[in-house]
């Protein structure tokens, strides 16, 4: 059984419909990417899957029906969401961002976890007392990811981490993300416009076009297929 199973997902804003029945699956520990151009509905998909907006259709997580639950219940179930634009809390320090990431936890291992993320992301460790808003885009993206992992998620939703980052910085972020997922065993549902980058990271991919899934398959197959590349991926 899949960790996340989405069936016939429909969502929008007021009268504007954005998603017209999306099916997607993410297995335990799997790295999955949803590709799509600007306005395709990637962000809306993630918002539905973290409970930030209402959605029709079915969202099953670990066999449990999530429709109609609050965002904090999605989080408690094990879904963490790094929003587009990173969503670091700019007026808090690096360390405070990590502490607030552990808001839902009641165990006594929060401090130990923070130290562990400082080891994984040494640049955060060097800047623990610095205000998040004063850090570079790449550092903030790493902070956002580390903060999301503070809730010990089983599924990380990650919205366009490459946005506004230089290619080298993006590569470093993705690199770190790969080692973090290997270490924690968390699954990732990544949405991206940058197909080249994302297909190198994920094992499986969906292509979202105007609110419907146009295509899906193994990342390697999509990457290798001339026709697919030209029609959907633009590289």
């Amino acid at each position: 059984m899949s960790l996340l199973s989405v069936r016939g997902l429909r969502a929008g804003y007021g009268l504007v419909e954005v998603l017209f029945g999306i099916d997607l699956e993410v297995d335990e520990g799997e790295l999955v990417v949803v590709l799509g151009s600007n306005g395709a509905g990637k962000t809306t998909t993630l918002r539905a899957v973290s409970g930030m907006i209402e959605a029709q259709g079915e969202i099953l997580f670990d066999g449990q029906r999530m429709n109609g639950k609050r965002p904090d219940q999605f989080l408690a179930a094990g879904i963490a969401h790094v929003p587009q634009g990173r969503g670091t809390i700019t007026d808090l320090t690096v360390e405070e961002n990590l502490r607030i990431g552990a808001w839902t936890r009641k165990d006594g291992e929060v401090a130990a976890d923070i130290d562990r993320w400082y080891e994984t992301f040494p640049r955060l460790g060097e800047r623990r007392e610095q205000l998040a808003g004063s850090m570079s885009g790449g550092e903030q993206q790493m902070l956002a990811i580390a903060r999301a992992f503070m809730s010990r998620p089983r599924l990380l939703l990650l919205d366009e981490p490459s946005l506004g980052l230089a290619p080298l910085v993006t590569a470093e972020v993705v690199d770190r993300l790969r080692s973090v997922t290997a270490e924690t065993g968390a699954a990732v549902l990544l949405v991206e416009q940058n197909a080249d980058l994302a297909l190198g990271f994920a094992g499986r991919a969906y292509v979202l076009e105007a609110g419907t899934i146009a295509l899906s398959g193994a990342a390697a197959d999509l990457k290798g297929d001339e026709q697919v590349r030209r029609a959907y991926l633009g590289f």
Partner: protein, 294 residues
């Protein structure tokens, strides 16, 4: 010289009260990024609650605690019924500010309905006594106000810097959407902020009432001075509220002694100060400049 010291002492005592009200404003600003125009009226209302408890024979310090609890409940309740239904105040700032102005009128009307329109005598928390230092008389009430203010600042510092709830309140103020994403119950924290601000306001009211008499207009001047205080100190800075409160208190007490025009226009220095700060240093003395989001 003695005369100057005397008005200075009076100014510091008044300033402590402006700072208390300013602290309540800062609490709301720090959780919503907005000014609460109903802050003074909430303080007035909970001062009436204090008075009612005291009237039935409870010692004043206990009555003040009761008034703070009452103020907390009223503040939290008003948030739930009048502010929360608007949705996230960060997304609807104008609507929220207008609701606080509506609450200003509503709370004022409610106080007149419940307690009538005649001013009540209100006792001094620290009594009528005074000490004389180098020829300058200092009322215990003024010393008490400064001490209570110091306690409140310590309390807030502890809350915001040392507790998980305080951290969450700061997180909500900075970025409510991200805070919700990590599971912080945003509306509940905003409710807590309203309750706390009202509870703090109670103390400001308790120190204002003996001089002015307790009526439904008790805090309206003080609110303007409180606004001036946090404009000078910085809307988001508890320390700024204190320093700003002191400066405003001293200014309004000392200036009329030397420039008679201000004795007829007590509010003028405060407005002048607000104007100058907004023109030349909009973030105030201790306020944080808006950090750009990358």
């Amino acid at each position: 010289m003695n005369n100057f010291l005397q008005v200075l002492v009076v100014g510091i005592g008044d300033g402590a009260v402006y700072a208390m009200l300013g602290l309540g404003l800062v609490v709301i600003y720090r959780s919503t990024g907005l000014l609460n125009f109903a802050q003074g009226e909430l303080a007035m209302f909970s001062t009436f609650i204090t008075w009612t408890i005291w009237e039935v024979g409870v010692p004043l310090p206990l009555a003040v605690l009761g008034g703070m609890v009452g103020g907390f409940l009223v503040g939290a309740l008003l948030h739930q019924v009048a502010v929360r239904p608007l949705g996230d105040p960060h997304l609807r700032p104008l609507a929220t500010v207008i609701v606080t102005i509506g609450l200003f009128l509503a709370v004022n009307g409610a106080a007149q309905l419940i307690w009538g329109t005649l001013d009540k005598d209100f006792p001094k928390l620290f009594g009528e006594g005074q000490i004389t230092l180098g020829g300058v008389a200092i009322a215990w009430q003024k010393i008490g106000a400064v001490l209570v203010l110091a306690l409140m600042v310590l309390g807030f510092w502890f809350l915001f810097q040392r507790t998980k709830i305080g951290l969450a309140m700061r997180a909500v103020a900075s970025n409510s959407e991200s805070s919700a994403l990590v599971g912080v119950p945003v509306p509940r924290l905003l409710m807590l902020g309203w309750g706390l601000a009202a509870a703090v306001g109670t103390v400001a009211g308790v120190f204002t009432a003996p001089g002015l008499g307790l009526g439904s207009n008790l805090m309206q001047l003080t609110l303007i001075f409180g606004f001036a205080a946090i404009t000078l100190g910085g809307f988001d800075s508890p320390l700024g509220a204190v320093v700003g409160g002191m400066v405003v208190g001293i200014m309004t007490s000392v200036l009329p002694q030397y420039l008679p025009i201000f004795s007829k226009m007590r509010l003028a220095p405060a407005f002048l100060l607000i104007l100058l700060v907004l023109l030349f240093r909009p973030q105030g003395l201790f306020g944080r400049k808006q950090v750009e989001r990358v």
